[in-house]
Subunit: 211 residues, 2 copies
């Protein structure tokens, strides 16, 4: 399958399909038509068919999609059939919130280590994992086959930390620091800029909803 | 100014302009050309000019934009010149992380109350604010001129809570629960689906970066 030309907009919609299909599966639904999925998700049936055609269409028959098959196929496309080891850098409230979020582990994202530069926090146990000092970060990453680093530190240290992470062979950075990182193009960066999100919300209040 | 036809893509880029202009301002830069801003932000100068033309162009002269003027104008467009009272519903790690994030307050987002349905957490003080039981939520919102509700609760309670919030006149919901809310169209909903973000990152690892 040649995924290279699939637009980012399509990719961005896959997790939402995955979420709805997971709910259907949990509710014992075995098949669903694109029309019914369309009503449920409030997108057009033609959008759904177009999106799925990027991946060969997932074999819709006259009587709709097989929910479990579709769910599993989307999981594979999203890489959720593989395990990813991750480290969290920054053991503040946000880092701890992410460490404690059980669903990530269910989907194959395994928290291997939690790091902080504050000695006072080091040794604190978060979800069974003892917070370590960042001095040991590089060695830990190389030793533990870590794919993903989660950056939950203030923006001041984030750019430099990202450069260190790039050097140790991390494949992806989930960036919560409020700054754009500067890493080689082969490292995946997914930004969660909470302030930006809050500003969009504020815009919506003043100017009317934009969606 | 007629904002009604401004696309969501343009709006979504405004907070990033605002962030870069704030950094320039903090560094004492008074003017910047679209070319220099383009290099700094790694977007084309033509994109910048097109985006700004939606708002009248911000009076660029031959020698570039006035940084402070541009910063203030974008702040106004984003509604950051107004104060917004907010409540946080869900006093877990994520709710506490958001409550403790000082920058929000600097931009006019004032945390008025924090709520939880767990009696054991009620009374706990987070950033000077005592966590209250959700039973008092409706009354509190009506009394305290609350614009924004932040939902940091599991998805099970989120849809129902959003309906209650809509009834009490909240203008916007910042939704961290992993579910789509069902509220009237005049209520602004800004979703932060962390799982979706992590799946996009996972896709990038397996298929190569998409950005």
């Amino acid at each position: 399958m040649d995924d290279k030309n699939i637009s980012q907009a399509v990719i961005a919609r896959l997790p939402r399909y995955y979420r709805y299909l997971g709910d259907l599966k949990d509710n014992g639904i075995e098949r669903i038509s694109s029309q019914d999925l369309s009503k449920l998700m409030k997108v057009t049936a033609s959008q759904i068919r177009q999106d799925f055609n990027n991946f060969g269409g997932f074999g819709q028959q006259g009587y709709g999609y097989n929910v479990e098959y579709l769910y599993d196929e989307i999981a594979k496309i999203l890489g959720l059939n593989e395990k990813h080891n991750l480290v969290i850098i920054g053991a503040g409230n946000l880092g701890q919130a992410l460490a404690n979020y059980m669903n990530f582990e269910r989907r194959g994202f395994i928290v291997k280590g939690i790091f902080d530069n504050n000695q006072a926090i080091c040794g604190k146990v978060v979800r069974g994992i003892s917070v370590q000092h960042v001095d040991g970060l590089e060695k830990f990453i190389r030793k533990n086959d870590v794919d993903i680093a989660v950056l939950t530190i203030p923006k001041e240290g984030a750019v430099k930390t990202a450069e260190v992470l790039a050097k140790c062979g991390v494949k992806a950075i989930w960036n919560f620091a409020h700054v754009d990182l500067n890493v080689p193009a082969d490292i995946v960066v997914e930004n969660v800029h909470l302030s930006d999100s809050l500003m969009k919300l504020s815009y919506g209040i003043v100017n009317g909803s934009v969606e």
